[in-house]
Symmetry: C2
Subunit: 159 residues, 2 copies
DNA sequence: CAAGATTGAGCCCTCAATCTTA
DNA sequence: TAAGATTGAGGGCTCAATCTTG
């Protein structure tokens, strides 16, 4: 007799992925919130810190899996906190860019230390280094297929 | 010279996991929403369908990574749609239970077919069967460590 | 008082519409 | 007209407070 469709391994796989993501997200937010940065905010700051300079709003939105609208408001909050600055582009006045401030860069460096400890406490106690590498490799293939813009920058690039 | 902490592989791993989850969630919601069920709703209906009978609100909340408050409202919507019914418990009048209706069960059976096709179109084109099994095994270890209540039912169980 | 569930207030996101510039 | 970004309206979630029952 055929297995019940409701127990299909593909449903289980997706369920495990979403549950893991929600669980981690929640665990991180509990630890990070007191420090004044949400997990979301840290992710944006990390991307801006790695870039170093200004990054297009639309690029940042695509990377962060946010709509342009959502990103505008998220950046607003970071600007209000003094962690990010907005820049306008002289060659294309339509465009807007976000750049991390020195204070933001300092905060990221500090927060990352605590964040890595959180990751070790959650992921590190479940998977050893080798398993973490395997998981990264598998997820990278999945991510590239599902959300390919996560690492892209606009071709119209520089300002 | 030591690697930049901002490029730590552990940050990358967590990033890949969250990006994959957001990406899938978004892809599924685009397809499911027109059918009248959100991805969230389908997940709750799936759990209720597998259980068959009434399930404690608090158990369902823990399984779905929702706060009791969030679950109350999510179930409200499903009740309004006629897909779920609320039951009260005679032996403990504090408790409340949710159970899937025949119409809800029918809808789940139909929605799962389309949902499996979506999964094949997103996950299936990125990972072959063997890789999917590997990913499931790794995620199961992570999920059990991060969100252990995902499959539990209350010990005070039956009504 | 504790446990289970619900409600009110507030935050953050998305969709659609708008404004500005190319 | 299209591209880039922002704003208004509305939905869903969380936190804290409340209500009911053990």
């Amino acid at each position: 007799m055929p297995a019940d469709p409701l127990d299909d391994p593909r449903l289980t796989l997706v369920g495990l992925l979403l549950e893991s993501a929600w669980g981690l997200q929640r665990a991180f937010d509990r630890r990070l919130a007191p420090d004044g940065v949400t997990n979301q905010g840290l992710e944006l700051l990390l991307r801006l810190a790695r870039t170093g300079g200004p990054l297009r709003m639309s690029d940042l939105a695509a990377q962060a899996t946010l709509t342009p609208s959502g990103l505008t408001r998220a950046v607003d909050r970071l600007v209000d906190s003094g962690l990010v600055e907005r820049h306008s582009c002289d060659t294309d006045r339509r465009g807007s860019f976000a750049a991390i401030t020195p204070r933001g860069a300092r905060l990221v460096r500090e927060a990352v230390v605590a964040h890595l400890a959180d990751i070790d406490a959650t992921v590190g106690t479940a998977l050893d280094r080798k398993e973490q590498r395997q998981l990264s490799a598998l997820l990278r293939k999945l991510r590239d297929n599902v959300h390919p813009t996560a690492t892209q920058r606009s071709l119209s690039g520089g300002c």
